[in-house]
Symmetry: C2
Subunit: 583 residues, 2 copies
């Protein structure tokens, strides 16, 4: 392909709203253009890399035995009403009404569409397991799209869904997907952090997120300095230190007695600890949450004074899809005390959740459920009990690894992929069934597996760039070899044309910069668009005996002079080496 | 690929709403399933053929030098407001409002999106011509989707747009696209009818539709029995017979005089001709149309009695985007006469359009603009004149070819592709400009070129099927070879596995029916899904010396016994022969 016949509108300037390297470089290198906030068009150069990522994903999915299908992007609202997501999903679900007043959604994921298709075709256990996927347009009505294609409104996702007779079969496909995902990201040259969230207790259910580090990532990751523990902060746990109730009654006997103390005008944990000259780790704070679980409209949560609530964990614990802090009015109405004086001792008006950290404080300072008073020496199991003792804490840097006890640290990350054991959520609500070996009707269990194609592409650029531009891994480069004749005329033109033809005949993807531009412009553009191998052909080198050309890897500073003769074979070997071993 | 590991839910029954063969067979062969009215999911087998059509289109587009890009499916409404189509397009345009109250459309075509991208990047004449395309999801909010994917709501279209400095450059790309389209349809095994609608008068503007014959086609085609004239009835013309005004005054002198005759209670053309014992070809009917051109709110149209108005031609002639028959009340108010008594003699209240057929009647019977009266012997040029004499007739079977005078006949057809010289419609309204060689700002001219992928696929099945199922051309078959072991065990299993592996190593796409089903079931399914080459392997043939297997083309009745040894090479040669020469 000749540059002049291609369309690569490179830019010197950076768009004003481009906060991250991939966004800046995708614009500057002419890979994408913006149609509107969160809506991007891939230009020819960008689309070539986009399709390569797609192909890698497709090959690895096919290798797992998953079968590609193509449902529509517009999905009947009826199916989303059956699953319940029409009602439960927020405004990021773009709901559409057509001219005949029928409801539709612009697919953000496709559990409903796939499950409806499977429901209609599934009769017998012999058809299972069944794993289907699509690589197709998705839409999320983001309020604040940002970071280019990293968080756009319209994007392409590979989403797969599998159906199984039992957990063992689901787990087999889930593990195969995990291996495929590792292979996909490896082939794309990406360093991913696999973040597991297995909850072993629930019969093999679990999920794994594939994250890349990013300063502007949506996710906070908790990682261990000693072992490979990695978790999303929403689910991260840590090693608990301190007393457990189970240590028994004999310990309780040695504790000092509960003591009520006047603490006029003191509300915050910091102030009360200073007033009583106690460590914050000996205090317990009590918070009240509203929930949308009708059986538990309010719940009190006790945390060690220095530890924050993790609302995701709490919501799961109380089986609510939404929770929020209760108002001070609610607190007064339900507890006869304001926020600063809440405590678990004597609290009867709602269930109490004690974080493991709170239950582990030997003797603690707590609010006395009476404005202006606190208790000293409150002992869990003696002075107060909880409805549930559970992990509802937000783990943070400095906490201890739940696996090895090493120190945890945190990073921001972006999720590129996610594999998830869904279980029966959709197959039950959408009434999918099959007949088992004994002819009895059964409901299949289900897994889902997603990868964002746009985000994967942007992340490759995040990981592979320098000050001058993109440094494409060979596997996803839009072209593999860039031939730059210093001037596209005479002997240099002939050598360039011949080399390009030979390389293409061998199977390499070649871009030839035939523009009538100064060498500096051509070299800058070459660095910007980041083709892995650059070949410079000039009259000077050609005048050597034997004639020479210059070969430079985009990822290296040094270049080498090589003999023009047999250069095609040598360069093609570099292409193959690059494909075999992504950066 | 083994059948048991694939997903081919074949059906014996025909869906109730499937009126055409492709719709029936795509369901029965497990190529598609319905998600909702007009929304179809491609299953794995269907998607394989779909992707092959896409690939053929992509290869031929790339060969024209057009560059693939990927804009979004959701397009900002702002761009459609700029072009004016937000307002001018009907309810088949699905307009969306997002959570922030911004307007969007679900792309039915992409003139606006492409033109907006080009507008932002175009500076110099040196960047032109520029030809860009996408193969992407489209949406039309059809009121009555039907015939399966032939007329669905969501579909995939290849749409290309080209930008040029002048008509000669546009024409060059237009001709290249025409050649590419012929090549695409040929490779898909389709017999298309190219329907030209060149209007030579407008400086090279024109269009060409690529139609396939279909009983349920949306388009009526007018074709010549003698030459290759083919036109959409909306634009078809025919040879006019009879007198023309230009034949001069001397002819007029020989005509009998105008005569007013009482015709009480007679309104229809048939009745008046019977009453006056004249041929319907000597009568002229006068119709009144409303238009949305403010300068011409009403227009009278005179047609020879046996010829119908073509409203598309009429609307173009009066420069209106909408026209419709006026009401009888309008007729009375404007002409002092009812529908049955309208005529051109003395009509002053609105412009008169005379169809060529009407102006060519030597002496005619016309309404007298007075209820209960008609004129005999009305002569165009003597008794009445027209604002415009033009072709506004609906051409029909039996009319004469405008090129050769041969007899015309008609067919119903479906449009698979369309190439069109748009001119300046979008580049002007969206203010696209570039600097020419003299540094002066100029507006580029534009062409657009579409192919419906779904419809092309369905049309292939329409053309290539029999009573038993689909008969795929090799180029678009989901698999090229189907291996059917009578029983998948023992020597037959070994022979089948070995042959499949050898064929795949050669590069063939093989489906192996490893199901534990009766041979009759397997053969019926084989005929239904229509893989071009079927290989049957049974113990009986294998027991021969040397061992034999059976090879049968889906398109032929006869089968042949071939030696198992070297059968892979022989079968692969058949695959290559099929690819080289589509049915």
């Amino acid at each position: 392909m000749k540059w002049s016949q291609f369309f690569i509108p490179t830019l010197r300037e950076v768009p004003g709203d481009a906060a991250i390297a991939s966004h800046r470089l995708m614009f500057r290198a002419g890979l994408i253009r913006k149609l509107s906030n969160g809506l991007f068009a891939y230009l020819p150069l960008g689309l070539r890399s986009f399709r390569k990522v797609e192909s890698i994903v497709r090959e690895e999915m096919d290798a797992t035995g998953s079968l590609e299908i193509k449902p529509t992007v517009v999905i009947p609202g009826e199916l989303w009403k059956e699953s319940g997501r029409w009602f439960s999903m927020g405004d990021e679900l773009l709901r559409i009404r057509n001219r005949l007043d029928a409801d539709f959604v612009l697919s953000p994921t496709a559990e409903e569409a796939f499950t409806a298709l499977v429901r209609d075709e599934l009769n017998s256990y012999r058809q299972l397991p069944l794993s289907l996927y699509q690589i197709n347009t998705k839409y999320r009505d983001e309020v604040r799209p940002r970071y280019g294609v990293m968080r756009g409104r319209e994007f392409v996702m590979k989403d797969a869904y599998s159906y199984h007779t039992d957990d063992a079969s689901l787990d087999e496909t889930y593990q195969a997907m995990g291996r495929a995902y590792r292979q996909i990201f490896k082939r794309c040259g990406l360093s991913v952090i696999p973040v597991r969230a297995d909850s072993g207790a629930m019969g093999g259910s679990g999920s794994e997120e594939f994250m890349v580090e990013s300063e502007v990532g949506d996710n906070t990751l908790i990682l261990c300095k000693e072992c490979d523990y990695a978790a999303n902060v929403e689910k991260a746990t840590c090693k608990e230190v301190g007393r457990r109730k189970e240590e028994g009654g004999s310990v309780l006997d040695t504790m000092p007695s509960l003591e009520k103390i006047a603490t006029p005008g003191i509300h915050s944990i910091a102030d009360i600890c200073e007033f009583l000259k106690c460590d914050v780790k000996s205090s317990i704070k009590t918070l009240i949450y509203r929930t949308n679980n009708k059986d538990i409209p309010f719940v009190a949560v006790c945390m060690r004074g220095d530890i924050e609530v993790n609302e995701v964990k709490l919501a799961n614990l109380v089986d609510a899809s939404e929770i929020g802090m209760a108002s001070d009015e609610d607190a007064k109405r339900l507890c006869n005390a304001s926020f600063g004086s809440l405590g678990p001792v004597g609290l009867k008006s709602m269930p109490i959740v004690a974080d493991l950290s709170a239950a582990a404080v030997p003797v603690s300072v707590v609010g006395a459920l009476e404005d202006g008073y606190h208790y000293k020496n409150a002992v869990y199991g003696r002075d107060w009990e909880a409805w549930k003792v559970a992990d509802v804490r937000t783990v943070k840097a400095g906490d201890l690894c739940p696996h090895c006890g090493g120190e945890l640290y945190q990073k921001q990350g972006n999720e590129l992929g996610h594999i998830f054991k869904l279980g029966y959520k959709y197959t039950k609500s959408m009434q999918v069934s099959y007949l088992d070996e004994e002819g009895k009707s059964q409901i299949p269990t289900m897994g889902c597996y997603g990868i964002g194609i746009d985000r994967t592409l942007a992340s490759i650029i995040e990981e592979h760039h320098d000050d001058k531009g993109i440094v494409w891994p060979m596997s996803v480069a839009p072209f593999q070899v860039l031939i730059v004749p210093i001037k596209y005329e005479g002997a240099a033109k002939e050598a360039a044309d011949t080399l390009a033809a030979k390389l293409e005949a061998l199977g390499a993807e070649v871009l030839l910069d035939d523009r009538n531009e100064r060498p500096g412009v051509k070299f800058n553009d070459a660095d910007l668009i980041g083709i892995p191998l650059r070949v410079v052909i000039g009259d000077k080198g050609l005048a050597n005996n034997p004639p020479q050309i210059e070969l430079k890897k985009r990822s290296e500073e040094k270049n080498q002079l090589i003999s023009l003769e047999n250069s095609a074979e040598m360069i093609y070997n570099e292409v193959r080496a690059g494909l075999a071993c992504p950066l």
